[in-house]
């Protein structure tokens, strides 16, 4: 019973923009630093130290950016779908902020996954583009992202925009399992997963360790980006509320700027 109450309290807090802003302040820095360290290590490792593939040669190094981009692009879409579901059921304000924050990064990462896939396909399959199960379902993912982006730009009313993009995000998640199982359902050129949670990787450790570092780095980068975008959206939506005022005053006082000119006499 007590736990139930605690959970309920937590759930309500989760919907509060102010609480969200305060708690994520340190998270953003943490994710940012982790992303920088992991990506710097991963890039050098992947480019210069990992051994070349015995069949594909050095073009196989593209995997170290292609796989993380595709993984994070799909995860961000799942995040949008979950946020859409929560937003439709519980009418939480913050979920629409989350959808808006995942959207731009997810879109460019999907495009990046398609681009690096094409660049990898040219020396490996002999063509930039193949109408293959996985490439096509990833292209559908890109169109979903673009569609939701266009939808959000087209609807000026905030509530309607939130509901419409929540619904499309939720419905679009059916595409995610299609992407995942496309390499098994259709007999395709695309190689099957190089990485899975349940099985031991087929690659030697000196090949998959840099991939792990890159995947973690991409996830930390996405965490940093999504949280930063959510925070700036929360700030601009709550621009007139008292806590934002106090927060910005505190910040300029820290920076030693004209704090006296920012004190709101009218409100106290």
């Amino acid at each position: 019973m007590k736990l139930n109450l605690k959970l309920k309290e937590y759930w309500h807090k989760l919907g509060s923009p102010r609480w969200f802003y305060q708690i994520t302040t340190s998270w953003v820095t943490f994710f940012g630093i982790c992303a920088l360290l992991l990506l710097a290590t991963g890039l050098v490792w992947a480019l210069a130290f990992a051994p070349a593939d015995y069949q594909q040669g050095n073009s196989f190094r593209i995997m170290y950016v292609h796989v993380p981009a595709a993984m994070v692009a799909q995860s961000l879409y799942i995040g949008m779908g979950v946020a859409g579901f929560v937003g439709l059921v519980w009418r939480m304000k913050l979920t629409d902020v989350a959808i808006g924050a995942c959207l731009p990064l997810g879109m460019v990462l999907t495009a990046l996954a398609l681009f690096t896939g094409g660049v990898w396909g040219k020396p490996t399959w002999g063509s930039w583009w193949e109408w293959d199960g996985r490439t096509v379902s990833t292209l559908v993912l890109l169109f979903l992202y673009i569609g939701i982006y266009a939808l959000r730009e087209a609807i000026p009313d905030r509530d309607l925009r939130a509901r419409a993009s929540a619904l499309v995000s939720l419905v679009g998640t059916v595409n995610i399992p299609i992407i995942k199982y496309s390499v098994e359902w259709w007999n395709t050129l695309h190689q099957s997963a190089s990485f899975s949670l349940t099985e031991k990787p087929a690659m030697p450790a000196e090949m998959w360790l840099p991939l792990l570092v890159m995947v973690l780095g991409f996830y930390c980068f996405a965490g940093h980006q999504v949280l930063s975008r959510m925070r700036l959206e929360v700030l601009s939506r709550e621009a007139t509320s008292r806590w934002v005022l106090q927060l910005l005053q505190g910040k300029s006082a820290e920076a030693g700027l004209g704090q006296s000119s920012l004190i709101d006499h009218g409100r106290d």
Partner: protein, 73 residues
């Protein structure tokens, strides 16, 4: 280091063009995402500061005016 020389590192077997294109695009995406988000959050903060300041100066002007009117009457 996997490569024997810096030249070999740049050439990447025969795949230099493809590898560097993919990594270049990745860096471009990551860096531009980072800088765009950063400049957006800065401009949001600036805008709010600006609104607060202008609201205050309006208020100050308002009180000054009512004071003046009070003195005249």
């Amino acid at each position: 280091m996997y490569f024997d020389s810096f030249d070999a590192f740049l050439r990447m077997g025969e795949h230099g063009l493809y590898v560097w294109m993919a990594y270049g695009a990745t860096l471009l995406v990551l860096l531009s995402a980072f800088f765009i988000t950063r400049s957006m959050s800065r401009s949001v903060e600036e805008n709010i500061r600006w609104t607060i300041l202008s609201r205050q100066s309006e208020q100050a002007a308002g009180t000054a005016q009512t004071q003046r009117q009070g003195n005249e009457s």
